[in-house]
């Protein structure tokens, strides 16, 4: 008798559980990331937070898988295969190499990329307006024009602009090319210094001393990892250092019109949510960052030999004050 009641009890609870699962369908989002890095980690967090805000709660109606390849392309490809094999509802690919490995493996699963600078050159999509297949996403193409406007507002007399970059990084190399074109249009000269490893950034920055009026850093992963090296050279040689990402302003650059990668992730998350709701990736145009925040660091500017104008500081969304 006891056994029987127990059996019915178990049966009933199983049934209840089953109907609960049916009522709340669990969606699966798989996130692959090429390497751990503050900006890319921020994208990852942004995706999660945006999904949560839009009612996709992890553990309730959403399962999130996340793997990082630690910069190794063979592992990135295995992560891509693993995800494709598990047939999630959407795969989120953070940075170009991860996006390419996913694109090579996934034929029918919707893919939303993030932190990819030029998705057409990377052959992820056919065109920015009409991606054409199972892949779309958010590009982190820098608004270089606006950045240079900002730089010239602070230093109207600057003639030669220096930059440190890693020629081996796809995004960085493309950005430097763009930067060169934009500077040429304004009659300014770009002085490039190459650093293929973080340990070479200091030497590269030193080579710019005396040759340039200002330094502008793009979102080069290698260089940003060692941004302090460039900033220390800027302080010693009195060359103001401008950045493309706001986090570097907190580390001692003069100013940046950024591009918060966390917001980039939020925008990506919004796209993921739309795909989960049934939108077709083939017709969703690739998005770029619209919202830009001005971060300024007046103390850092003083240390690099310039004083920021009051109205410029007032325009800033955030004024960084060092705790020192």
């Amino acid at each position: 008798m006891v056994k029987n009641t127990l059996r019915t009890l178990i049966g009933a609870s199983l049934l209840a559980a089953a109907s609960l699962v049916q009522a709340q369908e669990t969606r699966v989002v798989a996130i692959t990331q090429i390497v751990e890095h503050p900006a890319l980690d921020a994208v990852h967090q942004g995706v999660r937070d945006e999904l949560a805000e839009r009612g996709y709660k992890e553990g309730e109606n959403l399962q999130i898988m996340h793997e990082s390849a630690q910069g190794n392309s063979a592992i990135a490809s295995q992560i891509a295969r693993k995800f494709v094999g598990e047939q999630p509802d959407v795969i989120v690919a953070i940075a170009t190499p991860s996006a390419q490995t996913v694109a090579a493996a996934a034929r029918n699963i919707p893919v939303v990329f993030s932190a990819v600078t030029d998705p057409v050159a990377a052959k992820l999509i056919e065109s920015w307006e009409k991606p054409g297949a199972n892949i779309t996403g958010v590009s982190d193409m820098l608004p270089i024009k606006k950045h240079l406007d900002m730089l010239q507002r602070v230093m109207p007399d600057a003639k030669r602009i220096g930059t440190v970059y890693n020629p081996g990084e796809a995004n960085a190399a493309a950005l430097v090319k763009l930067l060169e074109q934009h500077l040429a249009e304004r009659g300014l000269e770009l002085v490039k210094a190459a650093a293929t490893k973080t340990s070479e950034v200091l030497g590269a920055a030193r080579s710019l001393a005396g040759k340039v009026d200002a330094i502008y850093l793009t979102t080069d992963n290698t260089v940003i990892s060692a941004a302090e090296a460039v900033i220390s050279v800027g302080q010693r040689a009195n060359i103001p250092v401008f950045a493309a990402d706001t986090a570097t302003v907190e580390r001692g650059a003069v100013a940046a019109l950024g591009f918060d990668y966390y917001k980039h992730g939020r925008q990506t998350g919004a796209m993921v949510a739309r795909v989960l709701e049934g939108a077709d990736t083939a017709t969703m145009p690739v998005e770029t960052m619209e919202e830009l925040d001005l971060f300024v660091n007046p103390e850092a500017a003083e240390r690099m030999g310039i004083t920021l104008a009051e109205d410029f500081i007032q325009d800033a969304q955030k004024v960084v004050k060092s705790g020192e």
Binding site: I75, S77, Q78, R81, G85, K123, P167, G168, A170
Partner: protein, 300 residues
């Protein structure tokens, strides 16, 4: 627990790294020449193949050119060692770092996408296999052909001379073997194989990237040593089979590690897992012989 696609993906990458392990077997084991050039010749093969594919070359021809490029890189390392008397390890490091710049020059940019180009895999998609099985089927053929050719080569007169050069260079010279030429040929062959691996990897991944070579040497060595622990390399054929077995084992281990949520392992722990696996693979055979020795002594 492993999905089909993850399993075939591991096989595919494992087979490609089997070619790398062949190359490392040639340099490290046959010639006793610690060669780190492979970290550069792997992306070199990928770069050459990618550029030629975009130019519209036949994929197999492009892969062949990648082999030649790899061989040239290996020859440079060996010549630095043989002709200029630079320590073998250092010579290979010099070539490796030089290749980083050369690869960038060849590609003209850090990343060439091949997602829409015709590759060696393209004609195979029509034969009725599933999408993720195609590359495995093709790479099995490539690896078996390479294995048989290498095996035959090792048994040829030149192959024997090469093995003698590695085993006892003094004796080999006394027998009239041009040991310098053997080292150049062997290291060139080794890097040619790695170049092919790089070319195939780029084609199956959909892109060549200059950073692709990071850690190739460590993974190749791990595959070689792991394989030798499982398949005792008492003959050349067994040693070659050990290379492939080791490479596939390594990739399967990673695939399982990616799925080992129940152990609390994540992909960021892979480097640690690799180090532990390689250490075990090196230590275990020694322990096995020790136990075996004790047992036989007891019996005696």
């Amino acid at each position: 627990m492993l999905s089909d696609i993850a399993f075939y993906g591991a096989l595919e990458t494992g087979l490609i790294y089997g070619l790398v392990a062949f190359g490392i077997y040639l340099s490290f084991r046959v010639l006793d020449f610690p060669d780190l050039t492979v970290d550069g010749s792997f992306p070199l093969g990928a770069a050459v193949a990618a550029v030629l594919l975009v130019e519209g070359w036949n994929p197999w021809l492009a892969t062949g050119m990648a082999a030649l490029a790899g061989m040239a890189a290996g020859a440079v390392t060996a010549l630095l060692n043989v002709k200029l008397n630079i320590l073998n390890l250092l010579a290979s490091i010099l070539t490796m770092i030089a290749l980083y710049s050369i690869n960038l020059r060849i590609m003209g940019r850090p990343n060439i996408a091949l997602l829409t180009e015709d590759t060696v895999l393209t004609p195979w998609y029509g034969i009725g296999l599933k999408f993720h099985q195609v590359s495995v089927a093709l790479f099995v053929i490539v690896v078996v052909v390479a294995l048989v050719l290498l095996w035959r080569f090792m048994k040829s007169e030149i192959g024997l001379a090469m093995r003698a050069t590695g085993a006892n260079p003094r004796m080999a010279r006394a027998q009239g073997i041009a040991t310098g030429a053997m080292i150049v040929l062997g290291v060139a062959l080794s890097n040619g194989l790695v170049g092919v691996a790089g070319a195939l990897f780029a084609q199956s991944q959909g892109a060549a990237d200059v950073t692709m070579g990071v850690g190739v040497i460590v993974i190749g060595l791990a595959s070689l040593i792991g394989g030798e622990a499982v398949v005792t390399p008492s003959t050349v054929l067994r040693a070659l089979i050990a290379c492939v077995v080791g490479a596939i084992m390594y990739r399967l281990a990673i695939a399982f590690a990616l799925n080992a949520d129940f152990l609390g392992l994540k992909s960021q722990d892979l480097n640690l897992i690799t180090a532990v696996l390689v250490t075990l693979a090196i230590v275990l055979p020694g322990v096995r012989t020790k136990i075996a020795n004790k047992l036989t002594r007891k019996q005696a």
